[in-house]
Amino acid sequence: MSATFFIAAVVFALLLAALLLGASRSSRRGRRRPDGLAVLDRAPQHLCNMGPIRRSQDAADLQYVTNRSGRELAGRLRRERRDVALLYLNSLRADFEQLLRIARVVALLSPAVSRSHEYERLRLSVSFRIRFQLVKLRLLFGDASMPQVAALGEMVSTLAIRMEAAMQALGERAAMAANLALTSEQ
């Protein structure tokens, strides 16, 4: 047996064993979710707060504080605004995870799923997580300027409205489908 194949086989076996142990531990511990479409009731909750957050990121406010109270208070305000931006990012992630969970529950309880939809969702979740970490790093190192945060706030605010409407439609559709199923059973 060649050294390369030997190393590959050993690494492969160890990796699979580690994956198995890790995944089985987390599958048995604390990952029990309520079954059914009840999870739809807990639709994204954070995005509705985007209006106030957007206002809190206004560049004019920072300028005003700098002029009136000096650099010290302005620096403190800047830090606090960065914290708000980070919280905002986290809420964005929470909403993404929530939506992802709903989609998984729907797929899990469906008698037929589409490979392309599932693959697309996996791809989106991986790229979201990578990008989220990049954005967070930029915020932590002070690279992302406040106007950008404010612009993001505006965008997400718009998205929040659209999402809320969409979730309402989805909820109605799910309820309609459940009612149809009940009617056909009767």
Binding site: M1, L16, A23, L108, V113, A177
Partner: protein
């Protein structure tokens, strides 16, 4: 003839045989053979292999060609039986969820076949140990499918019964240990050939212990079957969910760009 074997080997052989027999009887006594038919067949085949080996060793000795052929042929049957038990584990974990199962089994088989093919393709220079290579490849196939099933269940947050989890752990760890053991043997034949059998038997004894716990859990646990929703719900929701996820993703993409994003 068997007295020529080291005492430790004989003790381990007796222990694993008794352990296998105990598990086989436990399954039959608790009427779990209907729930785990392939696992029962695998354990039965394993015991049968032990008896066959006993006769072959007595008749032909350890180093004859007949012994080599008989032992490794029976091992092929055992690997196939274990692959079927692996299918049983996968079905127990994901089979209730018809849609996810239909998707998962195709992907898992594809990944397993890919790993099997790669292992066989890249070990061509090890033709001297063809049987070992074949066993490593088939164990890699089984381990990939077991790990893939657990990852699928984790991704979809599907609940895994304790019995199924222990069964899967046993199958997966057994295959990983066999890959390691065979790889080390193929590479360091001179120094390791005496230890190889002992390591394999100790590993198998541990796996049997896991399966005893699995069967005890299976005899007591009640698992309600999930209630599936109409296919229309998924067809309507999945594309919309993905679109919204993509939109959330876009927010981050724009945020990364240095210029002012536009609505």
């Amino acid at each position: 003839m068997l007295s020529a074997l080291p005492a430790l080997d004989l003790v381990l052989w007796a222990a694993t045989t008794l352990g296998g027999l105990f598990l086989f009887c436990l399954i039959l006594a608790k009427h779990l053979d209907r729930e785990f038919p392939f696992l029962t067949i695998y354990l039965g085949a394993n015991l049968l292999q032990t008896v066959t080996q006993l006769f072959v060793y007595q008749l032909y000795g350890f180093n004859s060609n007949v012994t080599y052929a008989a032992v490794w042929s029976s091992q092929a049957v055992i690997v196939v039986a274990r692959a079927l038990a692996t299918y049983e584990f996968c079905y127990r974990v994901l089979g209730h969820y018809r849609g996810v199962w239909a998707l998962a089994i195709r992907i898992l088989l594809l990944c397993g076949a890919l790993v099997l093919g790669l292992m066989l393709a890249f070990s061509r220079d090890g033709f001297r140990y063809a049987v070992m290579t074949l066993e490593i490849a088939s164990e890699a196939f089984i381990a990939t499918i077991v790990v893939g099933t657990v990852l699928f269940a984790r991704h979809y947050e599907a609940q895994i019964e304790l019995s199924a989890m222990l069964l899967g752990l046993g199958l997966g760890l057994n295959s990983c240990l066999k890959i390691l053991n065979d790889a080390v043997l193929s590479r360091y034949w001179q120094n390791y050939s005496g230890t190889w059998n002992e390591v394999a038997m100790v590993g198998f004894a541990g796996v049997l212990a896991l399966w005893v716990f699995a069967m005890r859990a299976a005899a007591t646990e009640y698992v309600p079957k999930p209630e599936l929703r109409p296919a229309e719900v998924y067809r309507a929701l999945a594309p919309q969910m993905n679109r919204r996820l993509a939109e959330l993703n876009d927010q981050l993409v724009r945020f990364l760009k240095p210029e002012q994003p536009k609505l």
